[in-house]
């Protein structure tokens, strides 16, 4: 399993994701610079957290025009795994790969806290090592993670079971306590919490590892199928 971690100017969680892939899981790691449209044969693209392009204009608004994002959109279109974490989720929404938008937390505060996430889908490449209803403890770290979509879009998301993670206690005002959603096809995941920050006991928890291991497990099955 070869993970590609995209690096924009202003990305800050690329090395954290890379550490988990490379050092914790021993999987293959490729950093993908935003100026290159070549995904270099990776199996799963991670759009990590941070402040791509300084969050200028809107979070993720400029990053989506990067050469790499053109390739990511085509990769997603072919069914490739695209995983947006925090700023990566914002980029996916701006790029139209996921519906809705992420606006300022209703508290107006930057929230950096542990959250309990209820798993709504355990049948995805990202969640197959979890159980529906299971609670994962994963930290958030954002000022603009308040998920917004119009009522019709929200109803459709719920009906099509596209909500993957819900906060047990809503930390930011997100509609329907949404912490993460997937596209209808199930290959593009966006989530505000940071699983890469809880993959080793020293960091206070290892629940994030389940998501990375799920992806690896999915890759293994594709290879052996």
């Amino acid at each position: 399993m070869n993970f590609g971690v995209v690096v924009f100017p202003g990305t800050w969680s690329d090395r954290d994701c890379g550490w988990v892939v490379d050092q914790v899981l021993g999987a293959r790691l490729t950093y993908l610079w935003h100026k290159s449209p070549d995904l270099r044969g990776v199996d799963c693209v991670i759009l990590p957290g941070g402040f791509s392009y300084g969050d200028y204009l809107r979070c993720g608004a400029i990053a989506r025009f990067s050469p790499v994002m053109q390739a990511v959109a085509e990769f997603a279109d072919r069914g490739g795994l695209v995983w947006g974490i925090c700023n990566g989720f914002q980029v996916l929404c701006e790029a139209g790969l996921l519906p809705g938008a992420l606006i300022r937390n209703d508290s107006m505060e930057f929230r950096c806290v542990w959250t309990d996430l209820i798993v709504e889908r355990d049948d995805l490449p990202y969640t197959r090592e979890t159980r529906r209803g299971e609670v994962l403890r994963i930290p958030i770290s954002h000022g603009e993670g308040n998920y917004f979509a119009d009522p019709e879009t929200l109803a459709r998301l719920e009906e099509d079971r596209q909500v993957v993670f819900r906060y047990r206690e809503n930390p930011n005002g997100s509609a329907n306590s949404i912490a993460g959603i997937v596209n209808r096809r199930g290959n593009v995941l966006g989530m505000m919490p940071h699983p890469e920050r809880c993959c080793e006991a020293e960091l206070g928890g290892t629940d994030g590892l389940k998501l990375f291991q799920s992806v690896i497990q999915s890759g293994v099955e594709v290879l052996t199928a």
Partner: protein
């Protein structure tokens, strides 16, 4: 012709605007009890060349749709007027001197796709 577009982007009425709520609280705190509601948006000035004001309007509309506003959460409106080229902003000046806008790694600052 040299034209100036003044673009205003505001959160849609259905979108909660915690910034506006917070500013309203601040104004109330200062004694402006008459304030009923505050919405915080963005103001963007664009100087552009266009053969006509009508063509400029068409182009700026497209800029708003494709980048300046996110239609999921924001509305926009703009006015077009003749640019006063004697009063270019600092940004306008520095565009002619790109060496003054260097990023930290020494590369010239670039827009997306650069």
């Amino acid at each position: 012709m040299a034209l100036l577009a003044k673009v205003t982007v505001t959160p849609k009425p259905v979108v909660n605007d915690p910034q506006g709520v917070t500013v309203r609280g601040g104004l109330e705190h200062l004694g402006f009890a008459e304030v009923r509601d505050v919405r915080v948006g963005k103001y963007i000035e664009i100087r552009l060349d266009a053969p006509s004001a009508e063509e400029a309007r068409r182009r700026v509309e497209e800029m708003c749709r494709r980048l300046l506003a996110n239609h999921v959460i924001e509305d926009f409106h703009f006015e077009i007027s003749e640019a006063d080229i004697d009063h270019l902003s600092t940004n306008g000046d520095s565009l002619e001197r790109p060496e003054s806008h260097l990023s930290t790694d020494g590369e010239p600052a670039e827009g997306p796709g650069g």
